[in-house]
C-alpha cells in the first residue's frame, strides 16, 4: 500500500481525474473531500461491504423457496389487497 502524509488543505490526485482532499481534522475524525467523475462510485467502505454481503445472502434462492414466499405473501393479513 502506498502511504502518503498530508496536511489539512492538501490533496492527492489519483489517475487523471480523481482528487482526494483532506478538509478537516477534529480529534480522530477526518473529513475527506472526493472529486471524481460521475461513473466512479464512492462509498464508505463498511456500507459498501454490508450491502455486498446482503446481496450475496439474497442471491438465487431456490425456485421452491421463491414460490413459497410468494404464496405466503398472498395469504398474509395486512398486505395490501387488490383494489379496482
Amino acid at each position: 500500500m502506498l502511504v502518503l502524509s498530508r496536511k489539512v488543505g492538501e490533496s492527492i490526485v489519483i489517475g487523471d481525474n480523481i482528487v482526494v482532499s483532506i478538509l478537516e481534522i477534529r480529534g480522530d475524525l477526518i473529513r475527506v473531500g472526493i472529486d471524481a467523475p460521475k461513473q466512479v462510485k464512492v462509498h464508505r467502505r463498511e456500507v459498501f461491504e454490508a450491502i455486498e454481503a446482503a446481496n450475496r445472502e439474497a442471491l438465487s434462492p431456490s425456485i421452491n423457496a421463491i414460490s413459497e414466499f410468494a404464496s405466503s405473501i398472498k395469504g398474509l393479513p395486512g398486505t395490501p389487497a387488490q383494489k379496482d
Binding site: V47, P61, I66, F69, I73
Partner: protein
Amino acid sequence: MEDDVPVVEMRGGLLGFPEYTQFTLIKMNDEGLVYRLQSLEDEAINFVVVPAASFFPSYAPIVDDEVAARFDLVNGREVLILLVVTLGETFKDSTVNLMAPLLLDPNAQVAEQIIVENANLSVRTPLLAA
C-alpha cells in the same frame, strides 16, 4: 425461447455483482407483490424483489444529486422502488434491504441499485416490520 422478455438494464449491476447488467422481472404472484429479478446473462443468478410502496408505504429514500439527475427525478419523472429480499427459513425471517433499494425507470427499462442517504436504515429489515 425467451426472445421477447422485457430487458431491464441494471446500470453497474448489483453491488458485488457488477458483471450482471441484463435482467428481466418475472411476476411471482398475482397481486404483483413479489418479483424475481432474473439475470439474462447467467441463468443461475437471480434475486427476489418486492415493490417498496406495497410494504413500506412511508419509506422515503433520500438520494444524492447525481442519482436524481441520472433518473431525471428533478423533472418529476416517476421511478419504481424495489427492495431486494433475503428469504429466511420462514416468511417471518425474510428481510429486505432498505439501505440499497433498486430504482427502476419503467419506461426506459433502466435500473440501478443505489445507496440512500438516510441514516439508520438497515440492509436486513424484517419484511414483517412493514
